[in-house]
């Protein structure tokens, strides 16, 4: 591969990672702070909530809710449950 093309390719790779770093460091925090991403994101930031789980066993909050459901059900032996805030 010619040297020029190699250099261009490496520059493209660096640019790609640069954009990712920009997303992390500036764009997403700015969006979250200024409310452009909606109140769900605002709430996630406020409660430090992970919304990235792909499947239910990955999300700790899911386990918390389900454990509470089970405990309440066992305690009351009926469908009334309490979800902790």
């Amino acid at each position: 591969m010619p040297l020029k093309k190699t250099i261009v390719n490496w520059l493209k790779l660096t640019l790609g990672f640069g954009i990712a770093v920009l997303l992390l460091s500036t764009i997403l925090p700015w969006l979250a702070e200024h409310g452009y991403a909606g109140h769900v994101i605002q709430e996630n930031v406020r409660t430090n909530r992970d919304a990235s789980a792909l499947f239910y066993t990955e999300d700790d909050r899911t386990w918390e809710v389900l454990e509470e459901v089970s405990k309440q059900k066992a305690r009351r032996n009926r469908d009334q449950i309490t979800i902790p805030e």
């Binding site: 190699t6 390719n9 490496w10 493209k12 790779l13 790609g16 990672f17 990712a20 997303l23 992390l24 460091s25 997403l28 925090p29 979250a32 991403a37 909606g38 109140h39 769900v40 994101i41 709430e43 996630n44 930031v45 409660t47 430090n48 909530r49 992970d50 919304a51 990235s52 789980a53 792909l54 499947f55 239910y56 066993t57 990955e58 999300d59 909050r61 899911t62 386990w63 809710v65 389900l66 454990e67 459901v69 089970s70 059900k73 009926r78 469908d79 009334q80 449950i81 309490t82 979800i83 902790p84 805030e85």
Partner: protein
């Protein structure tokens, strides 16, 4: 027809996925492995948390353990050279660490931009700029990592959860899902006349069951190309973030009850983390309803993968070959790892939970999910490394995959709302007890 042989058990990748998956599961369930390392969570600017939270020795242990397991399988199968596999595997693992560094940043997590996005993105970026070095290619075993990860994922699907949450959630989650899959399949193949049938079924499954996880299972069951999975994952991730933000606003403006609204979110938003996040904004009752419906829907993933695999070998491949296969041929073509996936689910639900108790098993599942996460990350990076933009652009030509997703998701949203309203409004059935006191 290829003759069946006992040596298939050590010569086929599907069986090795089951063996490695179960060895890892047994290692966790017996306590041999009690902590699987993961990259630490951190926030931009707090780089000390990133560096101090990494347990290098544990990571090396995990790397060596996985490398030994896959190298052994490759050596026994005899199709590739182990010496060529190992350096690439080390590099793939390092790229996985990089993926988790991006994915575990706090703000990224709040936005629901998961590791799948970063892994495929990093792979695509490398493949389409500097290219994949020759020494890395032997480690790109996408299907092998996916199948092994899926077998381990099976252990997280606990049948007991269906019994806990009753008929209301079951009606919403299991009533809508098959209808949406069949609708999207017919719409994609008959109306849009898409010839890439694996892509149709992957998009249909991702839309109707649980996004990326379901897409992976459907892709493996239908023997799809990597580009197909990349397209489906890309669309799913983008729309999941959009729906996580937009759906709660819609629920609030429509004046739905938290129960119906939560169930609607649970039945339509793909990723579970996003379901919970969207539900939480509407309050604890909506959050619980959303998670419960999603939980029950997630259980379908094994059933759907099994049905797709059977349908593929008996109908789709039959039509392509023009011959009806016999039982031997069906068995021959059937993706065996799905049996491991279902066996792992039954093993966790009906052996480990009665033996060790709910809480202990759930604690162990946190470890198995971490192993699966590493395997899926390596699979997603491999997908990115093996895909190129030109092939993906060809698949997207005419916008048919996007039309299929949009029409299917709209149908899913409308139907789920209708069923949730029917089941939870008190018209047909007595109103369920409130989820919160």
């Amino acid at each position: 027809m290829k003759k069946q042989s006992w040596t298939d058990l050590i010569k086929l990748e599907d069986w090795w996925a089951i063996w490695i998956g179960f060895i890892l599961l047994v290692a966790v369930f017996t306590g041999v492995v009690d902590s699987v390392p993961k990259m630490p969570g951190w926030a931009w600017g707090d780089f000390a948390a990133l560096s101090s939270g990494v347990n290098i020795l544990s990571l090396i242990g995990l790397l060596v353990g996985l490398c030994v397991a896959f190298s052994l399988a490759i050596a026994v199968m005899g199709n590739d050279k182990v010496v060529a596999f190992i350096p690439g595997f080390f590099a793939l693992f390092l790229l996985s660490c990089l993926t988790y560094i991006f994915a575990d940043e706090a703000t990224v997590k709040h936005y629901g931009i998961s590791y799948a996005f970063w892994a495929v993105g990093i792979g695509l970026l490398i493949a389409n700029t500097v290219g994949v070095p020759a020494w890395l290619k032997p480690a790109i075993k996408t299907e092998f990592y996916i199948k092994t990860g899926l077998v381990i994922m099976g252990s997280g699907i606990l049948f007991g959860n269906i019994l806990k949450f009753g008929a209301y959630g079951l009606a919403i989650a299991w009533g809508v899902t098959p209808i949406v899959i069949v609708f999207m399949w017919i719409f994609g193949t008959k109306v849009l006349k898409m010839t890439n049938k694996p892509l149709v079924i992957i998009i249909a499954t991702a839309t109707s069951v649980c996004g990326v996880s379901a897409a992976i299972a459907a892709a493996a069951a239908s023997k799809a190309k990597k580009e197909d999975l990349t397209i489906a994952i890309g669309m799913t991730l983008i729309f999941t973030v959009g729906m996580m933000i937009g759906m709660p606003i819609l629920v609030a403006n429509m004046g739905l009850s938290p129960l119906i609204g939560g169930a609607w979110l649970g039945g339509t938003i793909d990723a579970t983390g996003a379901v919970g996040a969207a539900g939480a904004v509407l309050g604890p009752e909506a959050e619980a309803a959303a998670i419960i419906v999603k939980m029950i829907q997630n259980i379908l993933i094994g059933v759907v993968a099994f049905c797709i695999a059977v349908y593929w070998v008996t109908r789709v491949e039959e039509n392509e070959s023009g011959k009806r296969p016999g039982f031997g041929e069906i068995w021959n073509r059937f993706p065996k790892f799905i049996l491991g996936f279902i066996a792992a689910s039954l093993f966790a639900s009906f052996v480990m939970i009665p033996l060790l108790g709910d809480d202990t098993v759930k604690g162990m599942l946190k470890q198995t999910k971490t192993i699966r996460g590493w395997l899926f990350t390596m699979a997603f990076i491999s997908i990115g490394l093996d895909s190129n933009f030109k092939d993906m652009a060809t698949q997207m030509r005419g916008g048919k995959p996007m039309v299929l997703y949009l029409v299917g998701q709209t149908f899913n949203i409308v139907l789920t709302l209708f069923i949730a309203w029917l089941v939870l409004s008190g018209i047909l059935f007595p109103l369920p007890p409130s989820l919160v006191s």
